[in-house]
């Protein structure tokens, strides 16, 4: 089980990785979404705000009306944001559940592919 702080730390690192990746920023520049990440074992919820490909904020709590809801185990959330697991694989295994359009699901996987091409 991962704590709220551990997940926020992982999110903060993910934010830096994404925002500092010029290629990713260019690729995602037409993508603005509000995301909720739900840790199903702890009940914690985290909100990520992406504006034109830039992660503007990460915070604890369910803020606003999300475009995308990602639900999984707290450990998987951490692993995902640290780049230690392939979210696409876990999604197809049913361990990660995503409520979003198929295009947004592909976008999320594309982000991982660009930041961690070996995952």
């Amino acid at each position: 089980m991962a704590t709220e702080k551990e997940i926020l730390d992982a999110l903060a690192d993910y934010q830096v990785q994404c925002n500092n990746n010029k290629r990713l920023r260019r690729m995602q520049r037409d993508w603005s979404k509000l995301l909720h990440f739900v840790a199903e074992d702890t009940g914690d919820v985290f909100t990520m705000n992406v504006v034109k490909g830039e992660i503007i904020s990460n915070e604890a709590g369910a803020k606003g009306t999300p475009d995308i809801i990602v639900t999984t185990h707290s450990e998987s959330l951490c692993d995902m944001f640290w780049g230690d697991l392939n979210p696409s694989q876990k999604y197809l295994d049913g361990e990660i559940r995503v409520k979003a359009s198929q295009e947004d699901v592909v976008r999320l996987d594309a982000i991982t592919m660009i930041i961690w091409p070996d995952v």
Binding site: R26, M27, Q28, R29, W31, E103, V106, A110, I114
Partner: protein
């Protein structure tokens, strides 16, 4: 027997007129081009009645490797023993093999391929990619340009007749004169996504731009962060004496489109080739542009064999050599028939004879057909006779074509309606 064949031909033409296009049959008949192709071999084609022609039209450059090329026919036959067209949603070895080869033979950092079926589709894809990648909308194209009859490509054609009945077309397209880089500089804006050009205009009348044109356009595109799309559908695959015409001027586009001769005259296939940087547009959108039959496994096998044939037989060099033989003959014609022939525009075996007036192109087509040569005036300019024979044409066949031109022009020079129009 001969009568039987004539009857069969008449029946074919009647059915064609009834079920496909009465006006096409009428037009072709009046120009002595009501040829119903039967046997095809090398640079020649035989009408269903047995009359032989040298094909200098070749579907505007589909047959660079010759008609019914036996080496490629055998490769296709062999492929049919195992493969079908394949399922476009799956990954294919044949796709990967051809895309890798295209990355090798195209200039500069062109690397990634999207397959299609025809040239228009390839240009549609190129324009979509340019808009998607740059997130800008304007497309600059040239007067007399020809990029195909499909949606985006049609909007970039420089001929109103093809476009008017279908308006409103896709907005954001701006036309400039071909060959004038300054005109592009004047109208490029912060919202310009791409400039699309043919290195040499085919349908527009074999228009060869000034030597510094493409380089200047490349510089303008770089300065304004605009993509350069070069349409090598007619000029590609050794037609002009280089594998791609843009190589004559050392210009590398961001996106190149190819089609026609990639299919070896046997299987329709086209490709839109672009840089790795542009590929990034497709990473979040891997299924945003699909083609059911584009890049079929059989088409890719044919495409690869076609490229191998062009390389193995050094067709680019051969095009240069045969082009020189043609040029010698053209120079004589220019000297002997100044009232008929104004200018010859030529790069390798992409050749255009500029006549003194618009009626001469169609009349020459007719006279050439009567002498066993198929050569048709260009769609955007009937005063130009386009000659694009198969690149495997022999010196003897070049002589036959030149003799037919000489005979036709001699006859025409004795008729009325020649000379420059007022």
């Amino acid at each position: 027997m001969k009568e039987d064949l004539k009857n069969i031909k008449e029946k074919v033409l009647a059915d064609f007129a009834t079920y496909i296009s009465p006006m096409k049959v009428r037009t072709m008949k009046s120009a002595a081009l009501d040829i119903v192709e039967e046997k095809r071999d090398g640079a020649s084609v035989w009408d269903i009645t047995g009359k032989k022609y040298i094909d200098c039209q070749t579907g505007s450059g589909i047959m660079n490797v010759g008609r019914h090329n036996r080496e490629i026919v055998e490769a296709l036959k062999k492929a049919l023993d195992t493969y079908d067209i394949g399922v476009f949603l799956l990954c294919s070895k044949q796709n990967a093999d051809l895309a890798k080869k295209l990355a090798e033979i195209t200039p500069g950092d062109l690397k990634c391929t999207m397959f299609g079926v025809g040239g228009g589709e390839a240009n549609d894809a190129a324009i979509k990619i340019a808009r998607g990648f740059t997130m800008k909308t304007e497309i600059i194209y040239a007067d007399k340009a020809y990029h195909g009859h499909t949606g985006f490509a049609l909007s970039a054609i420089g001929r109103d007749e093809y476009k008017k009945p279908f308006e409103p077309l896709i907005p954001g397209f701006k036309m400039v004169p071909f060959g004038d880089a300054g005109a592009i500089e004047k109208i490029v804006t912060d919202d310009t996504a791409a400039v699309i050009l043919e290195p040499i205009q085919g349908e527009g009348g074999i228009n060869i731009p000034p030597d510094d044109y493409l380089k200047k356009v490349r510089t303008i595109c770089d300065e304004h962060e605009v993509l350069l799309i070069l349409d090598e559908v007619q000029t590609g695959f050794a037609r002009t004496g280089k594998m791609f015409a843009s190589e004559h001027w050392g210009v590398v586009p961001d996106i190149m489109t190819i089609a026609k001769s990639l299919g070896g005259g046997l299987y329709p296939i086209s490709a839109t080739i672009f840089t790795e940087e542009i590929m990034d547009f497709f990473i979040p959108h891997p299924f945003i542009h699909l083609s059911t039959f584009g890049g079929s496994d059989l088409g890719c096998i044919v495409g690869l064999e076609t490229i191998k044939f062009i390389e193995k037989h050094h067709l680019a060099d051969h095009a240069v050599e045969m082009g020189k033989l043609f040029r010698k003959g053209f120079d004589s014609l220019l000297r002997d028939y100044p009232d008929l022939l104004l200018e010859v525009r030529q790069k390798g075996l992409m050749m255009g004879l500029q006549f003194t007036n618009q009626s001469i192109g169609p009349r020459m087509s007719k006279k050439l057909s009567e002498r066993g040569v198929i050569a048709i005036y260009t769609g955007n300019n009937p005063s130009i006779c386009r000659l694009m024979p198969p690149l495997i044409i022999t010196p003897k066949e070049v002589d036959i074509v030149l003799n037919a031109l000489e005979g036709s022009m001699k006859e025409l020079s004795q008729e009325s309606g020649i000379g420059k129009e007022d």
